[in-house]
């Protein structure tokens, strides 16, 4: 952690609730909640509505806690990047201690409530995902290595597994494959973004792959990662874990992903303004994950 030379005008004012909400990174949370919900709905047995709702709420609160702790730790880095400079801490609208207490409080509360409402295996997985995101990704890997996203991606891959375990109380092959899909999806998703905001990362001293290894290498890696990701995304169908609705949707969606990754591979532009293929892949990757998990749930509902 770097000590605080941030604007302190807000230090005497109580934080506005909208800024507390912004600390939780609501947009990131929506994908986390959706994948967690799909993991739960894909399970062979569903919990009572109140317990299912609580499990998803806990996943959301845990993700919110992670977001707050991430922003608390990276406040000075955020201040150096255009994309993040207007967040509550770098903009000086909140003091750091509030963000720390808020993040720790949300995280602890989410784990305890998950354990009490569903089962302690789901709570343990939630705790591991939070600790992994904060300590392994944010504190250890992100400022040190270009592989930060590769290993750190595991943190974002937990929600469908947690959703499944909250419903069933056990870990099975399908949720592990869902974990693997998000794990392999994360590097091309973030590397596509980091290509067109490369100067931001360089200015903040974050060793993202395009900053450390160059643009051409990153484009190759994006394409290479999209291949095993596509294979793992389709795998549940031939393995007999899902039906053809998911299998066909996964095949078509993954083909689109690989095609867009190929367009990134052949692009030679170095200026962000000419990185349309990278921007397209980044936007598509978000839709891809929503659509893939949506197809999984549709497949389950049609099978019942």
């Amino acid at each position: 952690m770097t000590s605080g030379a941030l604007p302190s005008q807000a230090a005497t004012l109580p934080a506005d609730w909208r800024d507390l909400l912004a600390l939780t990174k609501p947009r990131v949370m929506s994908l986390v909640v959706f994948s967690g919900l799909c993991g739960m709905l894909a399970a062979p047995l569903l919990p009572p509505l109140a317990l299912g709702f609580t499990a998803i709420l806990c996943i959301a609160l845990g993700a919110g806690g992670c977001g707050a702790l991430n922003q608390w730790y990276e406040a000075e880095i955020d201040a150096k990047m255009r994309r993040t400079a207007r967040r509550p801490l770098p903009a000086g609208r909140m003091d750091r201690q509030t963000a720390l207490h808020f993040g720790v409080g949300l995280s602890v509360f989410s784990v305890l409530l998950m354990g009490l409402a569903t089962n302690w295996l789901a709570a343990a997985l939630l705790a591991v995902s939070i600790l992994f995101y904060v300590f392994v990704y944010t504190v250890w890997l992100k400022p040190r290595t270009a592989q930060n996203i590769v290993i750190g991606g595991a943190a974002g891959a937990f929600p469908p597994l947690i959703g499944w375990v909250a419903a069933t109380g056990r870990i099975d092959t399908l949720p592990l494959l869902l974990f693997a899909i998000i794990f392999l999806w994360t590097p091309p998703h973030f590397w596509a973004l980091s290509l067109f905001v490369r100067s931001d990362y360089a200015a903040a001293g974050i060793p993202m792959l395009p900053v450390v290894s160059g643009i051409a290498h990153t484009r190759r890696q994006i394409f290479l990662y999209s291949l095993p990701m596509a294979a793992v995304a389709v795998a549940p169908w031939p393995m007999g874990l899902t039906g053809p609705v998911y299998g066909i949707a996964a095949g078509v969606l993954s083909l689109g992903f690989v095609a867009l990754a190929a367009a990134v591979l052949v692009n030679r532009a170095a200026e962000p303004a000419r990185m349309a293929p990278e921007k397209r892949l980044f936007a598509y990757s978000v839709i891809y994950l929503f659509a893939l998990f949506g197809a999984l749930v549709a497949d389950r509902l049609l099978a019942w």
């Binding site: 004012l13 109580p14 934080a15 506005d16 609730w17 919990p47 009572p48 109140a50 317990l51 409402a117």
Partner: protein
């Protein structure tokens, strides 16, 4: 005479207190439904 800064502080405190009250109320309702669901499972 209340200074403009005190006014902002009180406004934010009021808003946060209101939201905290709503969240606590929702939490009580949630605990009620969790309890009912747990009783249903154990039957």
């Amino acid at each position: 005479m209340v200074s403009p800064e005190d006014e902002i502080i009180r406004k934010r405190q009021r808003e946060r207190a209101r939201i905290m009250a709503l969240l606590l109320g929702a939490f009580v309702v949630l605990l009620f439904f969790i309890t009912i669901a747990k009783i249903g499972i154990n039957w």
